[in-house]
Symmetry: D2
Subunit: 350 residues, 4 copies
């Protein structure tokens, strides 16, 4: 990515856990095949919060000031050499995982597992919480007129939801249980509906979130008040045949496995805080469960944009908090607080 | 199944853990659509040993004297009404899981997960360690001339191996790691070779078993002497893309997951003694692993018979101990001893 | 099937091409595992018309008076021995292809290709245009309260539509083109919508039918008035990636192939009057097209019942003509006339 | 691709149908990410012959002198900027379809259907029948020591065979019929064996070719002397369940469809001279056949190199004619003659 400066700009840096500061940095210039984008909205994701809370994410450690944010929308500000598919002023979103395009995973359609991916927003690659960013034109998609910039910032999590239901093989015949009514659980709900599922249960412990899931059409189970395994088994007639675990909570993971029907597909999306989880391995084998691990997404952005248009009024409900860029630190604090009513926090640029 | 007697016969009963006795019982008569089979050879399986050792298997408890054994070969002794596809005197094997044929699982090709299956050999359904058994003709297959009765008794475990490599999607491009060089691990090795895989590693801690795996063409890793994760990663160039866990040992399960390449398929076949295993769930998700649980098999018997003919000299090496029916108690004791050189114990009928 | 009589009943017999007569025949009695059903509604299908028009269907020849009709709903009138899953008086539909349950196709989940199937309504097996029929309980499904008997008679064609979109892999990302706006094309449209597709084109030459397709949400192309290939390519941006050919018209088949995008799936459902069709084989290969042939359906009845409930008001529009059983000959004449406004003709029983 | 000259070299140009001439042209220089390769062997393919015979291939027309050849091996002569994965002097093969890497087909693992592919050897892109060629390093693979340069020139057609059996889902349980015992039919045979198939029939009309197929392990059927449909049905017990059509002859295509078992997969690889073929469409639909069109290959080169090593002595038999580069015109004449004993003609460079 071209780093030749072209004046300066402001970026929100994570300096150390729980410390965000806005600083000046040089404005990048797009290289050949790249575009410069004026950022308009950035969503704050669970993985951003992991880094914010602990200074780590997976094996990655925060070692120097880092610009987070990988869910974005913006406008094309300049075109690098050779870019003809986009135009200055065009409204766009960026798929943040810049895969190499040539390894076995990329060539076989699973580029989310590319070993050489540059994922913008995970150290050492800066993310989008800055006034301007540069991205390869091939990973930039037009944002339809029907979608606001804030809606555009929710395309990336929706892609995760669509990947989850695709790996789960969700269809109109599926009885789907989703564990966790946070952002990922709720976009998985929308994604399951988009694939024609109509029998969907959402399990959580927070009433306010369950209320939203219910409003969106799910049957809800509060696992603090009910025996979720028993309820799901009873209501689905033997257990859901697709289980999407979007909470990462070890107790939910355990319950999710217990509820699954024989031969079900278990889709693992949520990440627990401590990596190790004790599972009833014998029960998994004896029930013939298939487990699909969802790591990001491949080939979901075009569909996510379509689904976001079709379901825009519903998806708008998931963005619960919008703050201006100047208040990015506060936006992280809001996300950090994990209030019951908070689903997605988005930072808007003036 | 018809129970009208027709004289008596001898059967080997598991009376309580570690106690086998041969007793008289009425000889069954085949009902409509059934055949009477004179049993000629029966293999002793890990699940038989579970019942023998503990009086339990999964949620099933040994509550009354039980005839074990679900791996068998024999000869047709009589035909029930309406059976025309088989003839008296014909050499046969029986697929022991008598699925209902009508539930959703049966109709969609996954009859191994039939909720109404009668699995002969698991209480309350008697198995094959008896002079005569009755079985539905539809689950009885001709035993090719090229195969001995003892070889016929190994068809059922071979079907498990074939199911494992089918669920694993093994092909000539696969780098396969098999954990556990017992019967299931070794039939999985043969099954992987039958699907064209040539890059196969077998991991175990017992040298004698690894010697057999090596003789059968695998590259072997003794995980007591070497760092199996490191060796597999190095030798395969990044980790196997199909991992078949056939040992059930928690340490092996952990190692098996750690060794897997990004995007690999993990095939869970072996059952641990204690059901709960602590897994690095986060690593599984972040590596995009797919886990396939193998519970028995569906549609593998015809192929198992073909493969058993093609590979009969190799498979013969897996039957390490043969004892006569009169010594069934000793056969169980041999299997119980788990000597290094013991792979498969078969009981032969005179 | 039990044939012991129990009084008499009326049945509509196809005596020879274009000749239907109502005659008395003995009322059947259900054998073990069977139920007696009082028929309430029967749809007339294209294959019934083939037999009616020509006295043949595929390799099957009308050799003796035959009761047609394989799309039905009714009420349980009596239970055979051992049937506990159904009750007298219960409203039901019957899946007419009684597969053997034991061949390789049945056991691997493709029972529509069972070589030993008894398909009720195709000679030599009588169909449902009679006051009472006997069927195996395992192929009888409860008809939900929300569905009328006439709606129940449309479950079978809906199952064909669901099979077509399943084989086509239709999802929310698909651009689907359906050729033929007759019953099968329109149930395929509903089925595609049920799987989340929203970009659906329907091609026909009859304005009235296209009007109905449009009312149901499709974009329509009249291939008599427009260049369908060019329109589809332009409107879809390169061609539909799923093409469902439901007309059987050779010209439509040719157009359908030409319109398909590179790498598309072509779903062949409609049968031409003359079996041979000249195809641009080279173009098919060079475009990497996959062709899926739809012969009946497997495992679609439960889903068809669900979808029929969800979409009952829409599906009701497809039944354009209802006649009483006494007027079955006229019902066939109506279907034979192929008027523009006729989609599905249903015979109702008093 | 860099075209800056660096001295001159010789290339074999197809000037017009049936006219090859060797001419001087500038030697190319590798650009960034590219390598310069000294060509050592080039196979002549059916598509080269199509162009040679008719001046056309598909919609492509020979409009100016063209260097054919897309099956090659060579040695790295120079590295372009930034190439670190290869070394000067290294023996290599080139995958000739340079896909864009960014379109939907490329990103979803089907890069053989990339709409922006540059296929080296098909106008307007020159091929490999020249002393030096430039190629992107990402499409260049090391040639194992165990393989000669001539063997390396057969990797590309082997990739076609591997793609065919992959799309056909061939495995050890398959009964495979291959129509056409030319190069593609015979590499499909090797590819089927590599996937564990052992029940393979090859159908052709040329005894000498059938003799080679038999020597390689197939059961052979001479369709001029026997009723191939009847023989295949009888010998396979109902028809092959995978049919690979590699001849392109309309009569063979017809026979191939007729022989297929219900529910079989038909793999279309061979291209007929005239594009239109009359097919029994009704029979295809009623038999539930799936047709897979094979257009080139994706992700097969690494496996082809492995399989070529494992089966090198067998594959060596397929190269029947080797001529030096100076005699390229004669090599085309030999291929053009289509003598019974000619399978693959390779041009060697000194």
């Amino acid at each position: 990515m071209a780093q030749t400066t072209n004046g300066s700009m402001k970026g929100a840096f994570l300096l150390k856990p729980e410390t965000i500061a806005i600083r000046e940095l040089p404005r990048p210039r797009p290289g050949a095949g790249e575009v410069l984008i004026r950022v308009r909205a950035v969503g704050i994701c669970g993985s951003d919060m992991h880094l914010y809370d602990t200074g780590r994410i997976g094996s990655v450690v925060l070692e120097s000031p880092h610009i987070p944010g990988h869910e974005m929308s913006g406008e094309i500000a300049a075109l690098g050499a050779g870019v003809t598919s986009l135009a200055v002023g065009q409204r766009v979103v960026v798929e943040p995982g810049i895969a190499c395009g040539h390894c076995h995973m990329c060539r076989s359609g699973r580029y989310n597992l590319c070993g050489a991916v540059r994922f913008l927003g995970i150290p050492p690659h800066h993310g989008f919480l800055t006034e301007y960013v540069v991205a390869p034109a091939q990973w930039v998609y037009p944002l339809p007129e029907a979608l606001s910039f804030v809606a555009g910032a929710a395309i990336e999590p929706l892609a995760v939801g669509l990947q989850a239901v695709a790996q789960g093989g969700v269809g109109p015949e599926s009885r789907v249980a989703i564990f966790g009514a946070g952002m990922i659980g709720l976009v998985a709900l929308e994604a399951a509906l988009a694939r024609g599922a109509e029998q969907i249960w959402v399990v959580d412990v927070v009433e306010q979130r369950l209320g939203l899931a219910k409003e969106l059409g799910a049957t809800v189970v509060n696992s603090r008040q009910e025996d979720a395994v028993q309820e799901l088994r009873r209501q689905t007639g033997g257990g859901p045949d697709v289980v999407i675990e979007a909470s990462g909570a070890p107790a939910a993971i355990t319950t999710a496995f217990k509820s699954a029907a024989k031969g079900a597909t278990f889709v693992a999306v949520g990440l627990p805080e401590a990596p190790t989880v004790a599972l009833d391995y014998t029960a998994i084998v004896r029930s013939g469960i298939r487990i699909e691990a969802v790591f990001r997404y491949a080939n979901q952005f075009p569909l996510a944009l379509d689904v976001a248009v079709r379901r825009r009024e519903r998806l708008a409900k998931l963005v619960t908090d919008c703050l201006p860029f100047a208040h990015t630190a506060e936006a992280f604090a809001v996300a950090h607080a994990r209030r019951e009513g908070t689903i997605k926090v988005v930072v808007e640029f003036p």
